[in-house]
């Protein structure tokens, strides 16, 4: 993308337009990982291993697309690999005296390492990338057209957000997940097995994280290399808490975070280069500030699942 060329004729307007476009692009993996993790956390488990799942998803998605020639088959493969890693996390966590956070950290390292190892031969080839929807067709201005080139996965995420919110309070499955996450004892008394429900919820989280990872290698940046993830997986886990376990909150938080990530490059494009490193840190500073402002040492975090080890 030739951001610098754009700056010439639109002046300062470039910045918000580039931020919107960047937000949509950057937020997609955050959105997928956080929606998946939301379901896992609603069931009372936290899976920090999603960072590893994301990188594995990026690698396997790229490999799948390269081998099959279809980017969507790559996405599917990434999702399946995510399910496998989710099942591994849930399986280890169901052993007695095992802590989900420790397992998550182990799987984060495992997933990243495995992806680097298996992905060695994938650094050179080019795979077909995911298509985009030209939602900027109504405008003559090329910058707007470029910014509104919306990728298909983002649209799926956009549809999934309200669907998930509805499902969590209007379907049997959603209610069971919430019940297990809020009071395992109550769920057991009704004959549901918390371990099995958590297995399913963690697999769902893994699937979503795998798909989110495939976005990195199949759309933006759109190739496989070891520096692909800059901690998106782990950040998305934090976004869920920040979003107070609300799917719509996850969507907005992902966009906000994506926009903050896009801010640095956009400002550089119009020639603001002073403090570039500071702007690149904007998303993390933003997260910290909002978390501090919305926290309290006296009250429980509203909406937190009662069984979650970090809030208990």
């Amino acid at each position: 993308m030739s951001d610098v060329a754009l700056a010439a004729n639109l002046g300062l307007w470039t910045v918000p337009i580039a931020v919107v476009g960047g937000a949509i692009r950057v937020s997609t993996p955050f959105l997928f990982v956080s929606l998946g993790e939301l379901v896992t956390e609603k069931s009372g488990r936290i899976n920090l291993g999603l960072e590893g799942t994301l990188v594995m998803g990026a690698m396997s998605g790229f490999a799948g697309a390269w081998l099959s020639g279809s980017p969507w088959l790559g996405v599917l493969l990434a999702g399946l690999v995510g399910i496998a890693l989710g099942a591994l996390h849930a399986g280890i966590c169901s052993l007695p005296r095992v802590n989900d956070i420790a397992v998550g950290i182990a799987l984060m390292l495992f997933g990243t390492g495995l992806a680097f190892y298996l992905g060695k031969p994938l650094v050179q080839p080019k795979a077909p990338t995911l298509p985009a929807l030209p939602l900027g067709w109504w405008s003559d201005i090329p910058q707007i057209r470029a910014a509104l080139e919306v990728n298909g996965l983002f649209v799926i995420g956009l549809v999934l957000t309200p669907l998930l919110r509805w499902a969590l309070s209007n379907t049997r499955w959603g209610m069971i997940v919430r019940m297990v996450g809020d009071s395992a004892e109550a769920a057991r008394a009704l004959g549901y097995s918390p371990l099995r429900v958590r297995l399913a919820a963690t697999c769902f989280g893994g699937f979503m994280a795998g798909v989110g990872g495939s976005f990195l290698s199949l759309y933006y940046p759109g190739s496989w290399n070891e520096g692909l993830s800059s901690g998106q997986g782990i950040t998305a886990v934090a976004l869920v808490i920040f979003a107070r376990w609300n799917p719509v909150g996850c969507f907005l938080a992902s966009l906000l975070f994506g926009g903050a990530v896009a801010l640095g490059p956009a400002l550089q494009a119009v020639g603001v280069t002073a403090g570039a490193y500071l702007f690149n840190a904007a998303p993390y500073i933003l997260t910290l500030v909002i978390l501090i402002l919305s926290s309290s040492s006296r009250h429980r975090i509203a909406g937190a699942p009662g069984e979650l080890s970090v809030t208990r």
């Binding site: 209007n170 049997r172 209610m175 109550a186 009704l190 006296r298």
Partner: protein, 509 residues
């Protein structure tokens, strides 16, 4: 099956059921027969195996041996859903409603056939029709976490009736209720049993309830069947003897007067204001003093600020205004201060407020002292000393535990209470704060703990006793204060205490 009972109520028979937890035998070949349409009481000390027996019936635990028969047929119950399909329902000792969900959501999710997509409007209408046939209601849209204990219990019972339970197990349903609420609920289920709709198996520690509402009683002792019979044929003393066997009940300890009466002020609270977990004022300007050698009782219906008051004294919650002075020094609930002033604390729900459930009994018993000699030698803790001290407390306070290394969460409720009592009262005590200290305990444990509290007072401790049980306060206190809506609304020395006046003050008149 009794010929008089219509098809509704189920009969249940348990044959030689055994259950082991590791090395511990919780049930040892227990047999039990509950006839349809009766109210059957199950009695026993804390840890006797009552909850274990009914959880085995429900399929919550799997018995190692033994059979279950429903209406004369052997059935296999693998989990509580199987039990629900057979028409067996249970209200557990600890609440099993999901706190963040509303009453409506909880009741609907309890159904055996929850549809894949839930039509909340239809469910609400259906539930309202059902509630119209019930003698009491619960607000459907309140999250369960916002309900008072009595309301939760009603919701639990409504849940089981909504599920068409024809055999209802109640595990200590009244320990969280006021006597009036208990009478209301027990009267209701007793009526349904008499009408042949339900059979009731009720676990309780209150002889009053057994005599007033049960037809038949069975007594367990240390996992074995100790005896039983028709309620009319057994006296309270006989039931008590069956429960405790050869053990001795602690004699009532008299409050002895030292020549000078109560001593110096040990605890002085002035204009204390405290906010609850949602930031709303819960304690509004409370002032009180407790002197050495006296027990000051605080009466009140639960939820009128007592918990928050105790939490401030425990250091679990900051005060928003006012001061607490302990032995002449300002007190902020710090660890160093509680140690310096020998302040002991028996909070309510000790497993949650005073223990770490997954840590061992010995570790939990060392919490007050573990970082000082002889428990700690410089940087290192001495496990040997910690365990030896725990063994001593376990015998002195008769805590029933498989070993000092058992996680404290797997002890029965009464034994958790004893373990905490041992930790708090085992050393020197200048001030004791106790909140509902005998909640859910059997009569022998109650007598024991009451004796310990009075003994601490007689040794010169200043005792603040917060309780929802007026009988307990009238028996133990030197002075009674009544708390209502965060204020102290009534105060009386025990000599002139009047039950009616206190009751009226509790009700906020």
């Amino acid at each position: 099956m009794s010929a008089t009972a219509p098809a509704g109520a189920l009969s249940i028979e348990v044959a030689a059921m055994s259950k082991h937890f590791g090395a511990l035998t919780a049930l040892d070949a227990v047999s039990l027969r509950v006839r349809s349409g009766t109210v059957h009481a199950l009695l026993g000390e804390n840890g006797a195996g009552k909850s274990t027996l009914v959880k085995c019936i429900m399929g919550f635990y799997h018995a190692d041996q033994g059979d279950l028969m429903v209406d004369g047929h052997v059935v296999e119950v693998r989990n509580p859903r199987d039990a629900a399909r057979l028409g067996i329902g249970m209200v557990y000792q600890h609440f099993t409603l999901v706190p963040s969900m509303t009453v409506l959501e909880n009741l609907v999710m309890a159904r055996a056939d929850v549809p894949a997509v839930i039509d909340w409007r239809a469910e609400r209408a259906r539930l309202n029709r059902f509630l119209d046939t019930m003698p009491f209601r619960v607000a459907l849209d309140t999250p369960v976490s916002g309900l008072a204990a009595g309301e939760k219990q009603k919701a639990e019972i409504l849940k089981q009736l909504y599920l068409d339970a024809r055999f209802l197990i109640l595990d200590e349903p009244t320990s969280v209720l006021t006597p009036q609420e208990a009478d209301e609920i027990l009267g209701l289920v007793r009526g349904m049993a008499a009408a042949g709709r339900l059979t009731i198996l009720i676990i309780t520690h209150k002889f009053r309830e057994v005599l007033a509402y049960a037809d038949v009683v069975t007594v367990l002792r240390r996992g074995r069947l100790a005896g039983g019979g028709a309620v009319g044929a057994l006296s309270v003393d006989q039931m008590a003897a069956l429960m405790i066997g050869d053990d001795r009940v602690a004699a009532v300890t008299e409050r002895t007067m030292s020549g000078t009466g109560p001593g110096a002020v040990r605890l002085a609270i002035t204009d204390l204001a405290v906010a609850d977990a949602d930031g709303m004022p819960a304690v509004r300007g409370v002032s009180l003093t407790v002197r050495a050698g006296e027990i000051v009782g605080i009466a009140g219906v639960s939820g009128n600020g007592q918990s928050e008051l105790v939490e401030v004294l425990a250091g679990q919650r900051p005060a928003s205004a006012g001061t607490v002075v302990v032995e002449g020094e300002v007190y902020r609930g710090r660890r160093a201060e509680t140690q310096r002033h020998h302040l002991a604390l028996l909070p309510e729900e000790p497993l949650r407020n005073a223990c770490v459930g997954r840590m061992s009994v010995a570790d939990n018993m060392a919490f007050r002292q573990f970082d000082r000699a002889p428990y700690a030698k410089g940087f290192w803790l001495s496990q040997a000393v910690i365990r030896a001290a725990a063994r001593d407390l376990i015998t002195r306070y008769r805590v029933k535990t498989p070993s000092p290394d058992t996680p404290i969460a797997s002890l029965s409720g009464g034994n958790v209470q004893r373990a905490v009592l041992g930790r708090e009262l085992g050393g020197i005590v200048h001030i004791l704060v106790a909140a509902n200290p005998v909640f859910g305990l059997d009569f022998a444990a109650v007598a024991d703990i009451h004796a310990q509290i009075v003994a601490a007072r007689n040794r010169g401790a200043a005792v603040l006793l917060v309780s929802e049980d007026l009988d307990e306060l009238l028996e133990l206190s030197d002075r009674i204060l009544v708390m209502s809506e965060g204020h102290i609304v009534h105060e009386t020395p025990i000599a002139s205490a009047d039950r009616t006046a206190i009751g009226r003050a509790m009700a906020g008149h």
